[in-house]
Subunit: 232 residues, 2 copies
Amino acid sequence: MNTLAPYYQNNAYFLIAVDCIIFGFREKELHLLITRRPVEPLKNEWSLMGGFMEENESLTQAAEKVLYRYTQQENIYMEQVGAYGEVDRDSGDRVISVAFYALVQIEKFNTLLARKFDARWINVKELPQLVFDHNVMVRNALTLLQYKVSTEPVIFHFFDDKFTLPALQDLYEAIYQMPLDKRNFRKKLATMDLLDKLEIKDKGSSKRGAFYYSFNNERYEAFLKEGKRFSL
Amino acid sequence: MNTLAPYYQNNAYFLIAVDCIIFGFREKELHLLITRRPVEPLKNEWSLMGGFMEENESLTQAAEKVLYRYTQQENIYMEQVGAYGEVDRDSGDRVISVAFYALVQIEKFNTLLARKFDARWINVKELPQLVFDHNVMVRNALTLLQYKVSTEPVIFHFFDDKFTLPALQDLYEAIYQMPLDKRNFRKKLATMDLLDKLEIKDKGSSKRGAFYYSFNNERYEAFLKEGKRFSL
DNA sequence: GCAAAAGTGTTGTACTTACACCCATGG
DNA sequence: CCATGGGTGTAAGTACAACACTTTTGC
């Protein structure tokens, strides 16, 4: 319970939750991490990763806390999706929830931890029904993600600083949920001139191997200063 | 205070406010309605229209309540901007605020009411410092509005079902904060073919007078069904 | 009759789309 | 040697940007 409000008396108090839509990229598909809900009501149903906000943390910090609990990772790229406040949205009690999406590298994900929480990476195309309004949150998060990756170089947060062009294209295709033309995709990337081609190849997915690239942040800063905008 | 939570005990409770960024169009400029804050702390400083959320209302309903209190209007077009939850954002107490923007017709606005609340329409370019993080909310709302009016026909909510093309262009220019080419602007509108030209003219802003147009909603439905997208 | 705003087309440029073949390599 | 995925250029079409003059009418 709160201490007495110094100024704003006689107003209602609410539980606030944060729910995290954790996106990852695996097997050429966009996945998201869901878990069996650990508490009643709807215990053991599929759910987003969530948690309650505490006294001395901001919304962002609350989301980071939840992310850390489920992934043991910090400094994860995260964006707020919005607040959800229908009166009956949570059948357990009146709860206002703020949704965040996060982009993580699945390789860094701790699978032992996953077992502990009964968490699973699910292809976004095969998403089951989730509790409450969580499916709506996912839809909104995906729409926002589509916009974001097309206008800002946030997609690189899915990778551990290097990636191949075929993988990058597969990821865009998974997010946009449509096929892209390989040559046009590469042409647009080349025009922006923000990637460094590395000397090494990924031989994991083909015999020939695909060159690794990395995103050049300094070049991107300069790019912005010239008034240019990232666009894919 | 809340009744005892049936399930989610031992979690913190918070005050939740909604703050409304009320946009209107006047004198070829985008304006927004601000008020003298009626309560301590920072009493009489410039502020957005806000209010606390109550037990049995959704976030959207809370925002509608605030809008009604300050404008006496209902069925106002409204969008959520986001939730603001820094620990010290409100110096009065811990408050999480959810911001909404609304598009209203200034002509319908009740000026008597304005006096009661010491409310004023301010050109967005001449916005004073507002309390707390309200200036940030306005910036975010404007960015969202720019995106929305370019991809959906929401701009027509600024008008009372008819408008002239010069006024429409002035409004876009005010929102985008850049000049537009008159012929290109009209060509794009004409291509979409969503407006009906009326037989009457507005003689208020020129001797010749400009024809009124109205947005044709049925045509827009069909337009969407063909897979087309509004774009300006 | 003139000032002030409304209305109207064309042309060059940049971007987007569509499209097919050769390359490198592990098995 | 062949199957598999990686890598590359060109041409057509579409969308965007730039630009100037005529019309109407209240004063």
